[in-house]
């Protein structure tokens, strides 16, 4: 084994121990396992919700996207900032309602607000469908890290199986308590590693940031601006908007907001989080530094750029430290996603089928489903062929379809009926599914559209169709109720 792999193995062992320590003295019923008994203070809620910022998506996907696409990567820096503004007003009323009615999962909120168990099941299904690509990208990242740290001694396939096994064991022993405490360790380590790499590599290879960007601009003119076609300004704006609106629609984000002790935690986070994500800049700098130093990575290989440059630059022991930080960025969000998916399946699908099931049975089913969800994700991961950023954007296109129905439910007088909510979500999700499966873009669907609109993110198009359907069906069904 290489020194790099030794360090990663020690990190994984330490994380599993931390997970076991986190559960001590707690009766692991479903509420403790999935939302930590609603007892987390500002700091723990902060690191759980900031977990969205530092996942494999940003560590490997962000640097890879900067390496392979250039300026379009700046969308990653933009959407969080807008999402935090929305969160200031959106999260407190959701938290209050969930606490008042003792809700533990996202579908419970929708089902309760619209008095429709069918809507709850639909939201659970959308959540599970969206979570799979998100979990796949974490496992893909784990595979890349273990493969790189082993210097070829472990195949990527075996690395993915090992990664999935570790996440599964971790979740089954500790639930959300382990994720919260490991998130503190993860954020500390990743902060140090990303800052070091983002400062050291551009200086080491180019002499500074300005010489690096000048060299890139000379070698690849136009790479540091949004292109006229493809990932153009229309793509940028629609993708930023889609991801900002969908930021808190993920089932595990909903889950982490249920863990809070008081609603002021969300408003404080909305002030602190925008600055916290500036660390992403240094992830981008690593990707930009790799462009001229490890050239030739194409397609899904661009996600390897950070580790390829690290292996080329540092001793194996330090590659191990970088890999350990990377493993944590996959492990913590991966565990949150697994908890969310298993809770959705048990609490919102299984309980709907067997309403007489006791809480203990549902809790047991949730934990038993963890390896099943992990196995499905491994199968999708091994099919490969997609970049980490593309996987996340596919997930976002699905979960953002819940946004119109959620926002309407927070209004003093909700204009949306349960039929309108179900129809809108179905139309939005069907649009995303059809275009994702057939790899269709707006430009292919509507070739006559003006250039400015042809690059729109398909998720935004689905969201527009979704909102229109919600409005029409709600108007029709409300009128029918009035006449009845």
């Amino acid at each position: 084994m290489s020194a790099a792999l030794d360090i990663i193995v020690v990190t994984i062992a330490a994380v599993l121990c931390l997970g076991l320590l986190a559960r001590r003295g707690k009766d692991m019923n479903l509420e403790q396992w999935s939302v930590g008994g609603r007892g987390f203070g500002t700091i723990l809620v902060f690191v759980l919700m900031a977990g969205e910022i530092y996942t494999t998506f940003t560590f490997l996907g962000g640097s890879g996207f900067a390496y392979g696409h250039g300026a379009p990567v700046f969308y990653i820096l933009s959407y969080g900032c807008l999402a935090y503004i929305i969160s200031y007003w959106m999260l407190p009323p959701i938290w209050r309602y969930a606490k008042q009615h003792r809700l533990i999962a996202q579908p419970d909120f929708f089902a309760h607000k619209y008095d429709s168990p069918a809507l709850g099941i639909l939201v659970a299904l959308v959540g599970i469908v969206a979570l799979i690509p998100y979990l796949v990208l974490q496992l893909k990242g784990l595979g890349i890290i273990v493969d790189a740290a082993a210097y070829g001694a472990i195949s990527p396939t075996l690395a993915i199986w090992i990664g999935a096994g570790v996440v599964t064991v971790y979740v089954m022993v500790s639930g959300v308590h382990g994720s919260a405490w490991t998130a503190v360790l993860k954020d500390t380590l990743i902060l140090a590693v990303v800052l070091f790499l983002g400062i050291y590599l551009p200086i080491h290879y180019y002499g500074g940031y300005s010489p690096m960007f000048n060299a890139i601009d000379a070698a690849k003119p136009g790479f540091l601006a949004l292109p006229a076609k493809g990932e153009s300004v229309a793509w940028f704006d629609s993708t930023v908007l889609l991801t900002a609106l969908g930021f808190y629609m993920w089932p595990h984000s909903f889950g982490s907001l249920f863990t809070a002790k008081e609603e002021r935690a969300f408003r404080r986070n909305a002030v602190m989080m925008p600055v916290y994500q500036l660390i992403l800049l240094f992830v981008f700098f690593v990707g930009f530094a790799a462009i001229l130093k490890v050239p030739g990575l194409k397609g899904p290989e661009i996600d390897l750029s950070l580790l390829r440059l690290s292996v080329q630059t540092f001793d194996p022991w330090f590659v191990g430290v970088i890999g350990a930080a990377g493993v944590l960025t996959a492990l913590v969000p991966g565990s949150m996603i697994l908890i969310a998916a298993a809770t959705l399946l048990a609490n919102n699908i299984f309980r709907a089928v067997r309403p007489q099931a006791s809480d203990a049975t549902v809790s047991l089913v949730a934990k038993s489903l963890v390896p099943v969800v992990a196995l499905v994700s491994v199968i999708f991961t091994l099919q490969g062929g997609t970049t980490i950023v593309a996987l996340l954007l596919m997930g976002y296109a699905f979960v953002t379809q819940l946004f119109p129905t959620l926002i309407a439910s927070l209004l003093p007088r909700n204009p949306v009926t349960r039929q309108g909510a179900i129809a809108g979500i179905c139309v939005g999700v069907a649009t995303v599914a059809a275009t994702s499966l057939t790899h269709t873009t707006v430009a292919m669907l509507f070739p006559a559209l003006p250039e400015a609109l042809r690059d729109l993110n398909i998720g935004i198009v689905a969201l527009i169709l979704n909102t229109a359907t919600v409005a029409v069906v709600s108007a029709l069904t409300r009128r029918r109720v009035a006449f009845a």
Binding site: A71, F74, L77, S78, C81, L82, Y84, I85, Y88, P92, Y209, S210, P211, F213, N214, D217, G222, L224, A225, L226, V233, F236, D237, V240, L241, R264, R267, R268, A270, V271, M272, P274, V275, Q277, L278, L281, F284
Partner: protein, 63 residues
């Protein structure tokens, strides 16, 4: 508070309108991508704006 909370619209305009406009000028200024510098500026401004809103919001006062 009613006026202050409308400041939250500015980052949306800054990013969704500002970036497409700036994309039409030269990409590098003082060796840094212009779009990147603009987005970073708006992230810092967002934190300041949300801080002002938080301090002016009566809901955040200790009972």
């Amino acid at each position: 508070m009613a006026f202050v909370k409308w400041l939250a619209v500015l980052p949306f305009l800054g990013i969704l309108v500002g970036v497409p406009l700036l994309n039409q000028v030269q990409p590098l200024v003082l060796g840094m991508p212009l779009i990147l510098a603009w987005i970073v500026m708006w992230i810092v401004l967002t934190a300041v704006i949300m801080g002002i809103i938080y301090l002016c919001d009566p809901a955040n006062r200790d009972p």
